[in-house]
Symmetry: D2
Subunit: 381 residues, 4 copies
Amino acid sequence: MNLLDNVAIELPSWAFGNSGTRFKVFGTPGTPRTVEEKIADAATVHRFTGMAPTVALHIPWDRVDDYTALAAHAAEHGVSLGTVNSNTFQDDDYKFGSLTHVDKMVRQKAIDHHLACIEIMNQTGSQDLKIWLADGTNYPGQGDIRGRQDRLAESLATIYQHIGEGQRMVLEYKFFEPAMYMTDVPDWGTSYVQVSALGERAKVCLDTGHHAPGTNIEFIVAQLLRLGKLGSFDFNSRFYADDDLIVGAADPFQLFRIMFEVIRGGGLDAGSDLSLMLDQCHNVEAKIPGQIRSVLNVAEMTARAQLVDADALAVAQESGDVLGANEIFMDAFYTDVRPAMAQWRADRGLPEHPMRAFAESGYQDTVDAERVGGTQSSWGA
Amino acid sequence: MNLLDNVAIELPSWAFGNSGTRFKVFGTPGTPRTVEEKIADAATVHRFTGMAPTVALHIPWDRVDDYTALAAHAAEHGVSLGTVNSNTFQDDDYKFGSLTHVDKMVRQKAIDHHLACIEIMNQTGSQDLKIWLADGTNYPGQGDIRGRQDRLAESLATIYQHIGEGQRMVLEYKFFEPAMYMTDVPDWGTSYVQVSALGERAKVCLDTGHHAPGTNIEFIVAQLLRLGKLGSFDFNSRFYADDDLIVGAADPFQLFRIMFEVIRGGGLDAGSDLSLMLDQCHNVEAKIPGQIRSVLNVAEMTARAQLVDADALAVAQESGDVLGANEIFMDAFYTDVRPAMAQWRADRGLPEHPMRAFAESGYQDTVDAERVGGTQSSWGA
Amino acid sequence: MNLLDNVAIELPSWAFGNSGTRFKVFGTPGTPRTVEEKIADAATVHRFTGMAPTVALHIPWDRVDDYTALAAHAAEHGVSLGTVNSNTFQDDDYKFGSLTHVDKMVRQKAIDHHLACIEIMNQTGSQDLKIWLADGTNYPGQGDIRGRQDRLAESLATIYQHIGEGQRMVLEYKFFEPAMYMTDVPDWGTSYVQVSALGERAKVCLDTGHHAPGTNIEFIVAQLLRLGKLGSFDFNSRFYADDDLIVGAADPFQLFRIMFEVIRGGGLDAGSDLSLMLDQCHNVEAKIPGQIRSVLNVAEMTARAQLVDADALAVAQESGDVLGANEIFMDAFYTDVRPAMAQWRADRGLPEHPMRAFAESGYQDTVDAERVGGTQSSWGA
Amino acid sequence: MNLLDNVAIELPSWAFGNSGTRFKVFGTPGTPRTVEEKIADAATVHRFTGMAPTVALHIPWDRVDDYTALAAHAAEHGVSLGTVNSNTFQDDDYKFGSLTHVDKMVRQKAIDHHLACIEIMNQTGSQDLKIWLADGTNYPGQGDIRGRQDRLAESLATIYQHIGEGQRMVLEYKFFEPAMYMTDVPDWGTSYVQVSALGERAKVCLDTGHHAPGTNIEFIVAQLLRLGKLGSFDFNSRFYADDDLIVGAADPFQLFRIMFEVIRGGGLDAGSDLSLMLDQCHNVEAKIPGQIRSVLNVAEMTARAQLVDADALAVAQESGDVLGANEIFMDAFYTDVRPAMAQWRADRGLPEHPMRAFAESGYQDTVDAERVGGTQSSWGA
């Protein structure tokens, strides 16, 4: 059985809009102006890779009047709507926090926003409400760490009561940024204790760029799968901070190790509800092929990871053969799976070389020509 | 009420022996040859500071035939025996793990060692069994992350069954070293989930040097106190890795923030069972005054932390006055508490200036002269 | 002699405008709309501290038609114009580099921008042209590291030819951001070799937030002063990355150590041309008092640093008395200099408590009321 | 032309002895007791790989009475003696420094040790004197940063006067350890300014494990080659600190990028005097195959790096095609070169699969049986 058949990578609508750093956001021709255009681009990625069947929404950036129509639009393009991502960091009221704010009115506003997101999920048929909180403080003394944590627990509990039967809440953690001194959900431990207090349908979201330097991410993957609490991934890569580069670009071997633990922990098994999503910023590279490249990277490292000879590895591990075990592990990583991947795609009627096929498809030229006027999508809209 | 009256800092017996890096261990005149001499040195630190009433043991380094006699020896010197620290990293059998080892025989050996430690605790009247595990792997593929975690859980459960009513098990976590790729208890989250699976008397031990670069340690302190799971501290300081420098030496403001959260979370309240311990290496500085300096540093930052005007701080925090809140916080940190500390000591019949008083006491000259011959204590004995 | 009399801290005009993260820029009442209003705010900081006599400009954000008039405006407010900071990161042409770009036309455009900055310096009487380059790449393979470095050398040489007799070029280095994989001037070594190739009037600018985690910044300060190549500081503080927090807020002891090396290396001596500048972002705190607090922090740590008993320290260092040397060093840091600082200010007709005096002055209310309409200044303008 | 023909990897004699962490050094059967046995093991690595023709010595660990005889011994085994590594960190006199020590007598002792090393080089015909200094301080205030740097310059100048015509001095830098607060040669910048002050035959040694987290090492490689000052590598890999793991084990893509810049900068050109050396600790894995694996890793990443289509890359880079350039770069990295490597070895009469061939050779069993009694070599001898 090829585990690749179980790989479904969700694309973030915002990856198709403009993004950048605090210093500059560069625009590009063909950038979508509407959520419909973002979905069209995401569907294009799926068309060339066969592995990206859903699109995540970000509210309010992707707010529309009629979500049923939006779901239909997606279906027409061959994809469906996925995770709904909330946003409590761009309203002036959230300057000092949202779900953790000292002011009950602000907390309620943030809670209501999440309830509105759940309402959207009900209409789109989305499974996951993803909460990434920008809450935190910049200066020692600015906030009461303990009190903020308690208020967070209370706010999450209120939201969780509205999570439906087939729905889940996933709580993302992040080491730092935009808060510079203290982040209210800075590590997997905090996300774990918060979601564990809620119930079965609350899980942790692991963003691969949200850790301290040197953190062994695959350990966290293994641990959370062991605890039954790994809900989803936000894939990207980084050299320094939350760089949001193309997943696998900075350290493909790390991605290989992560996918190995995903497989080891049953994350690609038939019954698994683990969600694999991208969350990236294509600041200087083309967006659609940037997403295609990302899907291919996850797929390739998954393909390599499933080549690990598990039986031989177990024998080497149990006999204390450090070099032997490492060699078995590396043999899989060093194997070039690209021909096999091309074949896998050919077998499914997909282009063998998605990057090349996209470049030759003329899609980019078409949207460059069509998408003139209007306001290009970005994090602000 | 002065919270300093609630501060009791446990000293590690091994701080009085020689220590160093993998490159070199320097010896010094007067270094203890026996556990009795280590206790005598520790008692000296207490005599000059009034704040270090207990001494932690490390087994097998501090193994003796008669622990009742050892406790009596300590009592004669005015101190008592504290935490028992296990050691599963210096036996050849533990090359590939101890409580996590693939071999049941090795795991059982490690478990038995802990049961022997509990037996010592029964004789010495110690409250805490502290487990720091060196277990981990150096190379990707070398070990099965998930299986090791499961075996750890099983081993800990077996040991925990023997923890008596008035006793506790504290599980320390460490980012890396001696394992270089994967550490089996690398972060507070892992220690928390492991001890939570055991019961009330299992808690987390936080070593201030065991985190990734940039980690907000006071956040973890606040979180674990909130969860009722912070059992003890191993105090020291670091610039880079687990440097094991004198606590407060690298970043006194961080120590201040930690002690602020300890107070905020009730860690110095009358009923608190939070244990404050030092765990340091005096590689190049004199050991006894190194410990005195460490006790003074913890005391001074505690004194400064309790100066924070909590009411004014709450008002500033609630009104979003970032600079005002920070100023109230920093005002406490910037206040020179040394005169008040000297007075506190004078009031208790202690030397106003412990470092100076020790230097003038002639104690070091005495032990330098007496402790000739024999083998100086170090991590190996 | 009080070294505080030699402390002159340059304020960045942009600190008075809005700033933020890639997630959000919050606005505040009273934010300047023009460079003239920024200068008025900077002059206010000087009026309350007596230590901030100059204002740095950023081109094009502070572009005006008549720089002579601008200098006169500054003089009327009691300050003068300082360093001119160039900007080659917000024009679309610089997406793939400026002084390092593969395209000669783009490099020439960036060079011309610096020549225009020098022309402004000629009109304002500024001493320093500061170059901070955002140049770099996000992905391995994206650029030719070596070729970019060669082109940088060529571009800088061209600019340097236009640096006048009484002028200097200072080249800032930065670990990462906005480039995520490779930054063309990432460390002091690179800045040093580039400016050394130019001549006497080219020096290094050290931004305290632009280093890898754990970097010993005071070592670099000592080294560059030893080499005669430390031109200027960009002061701020950080917990994680280039957080641009208030200088001294994250680690006041580090600021103390930096100022100690500045003094040790002659940086505050009468003849020194070392320039001390702030470069911060007041994302969530009030801007004018944020700058006042920053000036006070530098001043306080300078005051503490000059309390170090240099003779006693040398004796302790030479005798290998680690704890004694450290105690002499820490005694200075632990001394509360605030009363002496208040007196120093009172002696000069300045408010003893600048933060309080500013709060009571009504200045903020006045500008809040006056500055209505128009576009608030930010990094974009 | 195959650049692999120009790859010669020097092996460190000490890699064949025992090593470990400060916590424990594990011994293994067959560990050499003498320098002659270490050389025999190193020659074995060369015999199976064809790429490790020289062995580096460490003085005093490898001190013998007759170096001419030692060179002859090496020649008999098919290898020759390479770099001489000095040691100024294991003598009690160096507790507070060696070449930087405040005491002129200690500095002279350290200088004399280096002159003795040069004398050994004269006898062995070695090209390089490698200086890695453990000098530094553990506590702020402990030493005078500036004064230590000046003394270092003076000591190095004295040693350099004795470096012969065909000889070189290479100065290694290290971020931290064993010094915890301040290291006297912490970064490439410091090594560069120190060796630049000496002359042509003084160069920088880059140890791949000696950098701050996140440092872009290939940038430094490119920069030092550009400056003509990269003398040699100490290869190993790390996840956290100076882990000294098998080169390429932690991040093979990083090793690929480093070798790409080596090639780009001419480091493997015919006339290049760049020296490639291993410096590793085989704490838990078998030593001889550990070294074989290391040689193979360097060779494989070199082979992949030379596959980069330089012309196509230049076109993509110059046209701003970020994804295209990255793809060309990654295509080389993702190519499985192991079959071609096996062929390269077969063509030269070497075993196609060195790891397997060594395992089947019986060499380990032989030395396990022969090397009984005596004292196993380690860092202490």
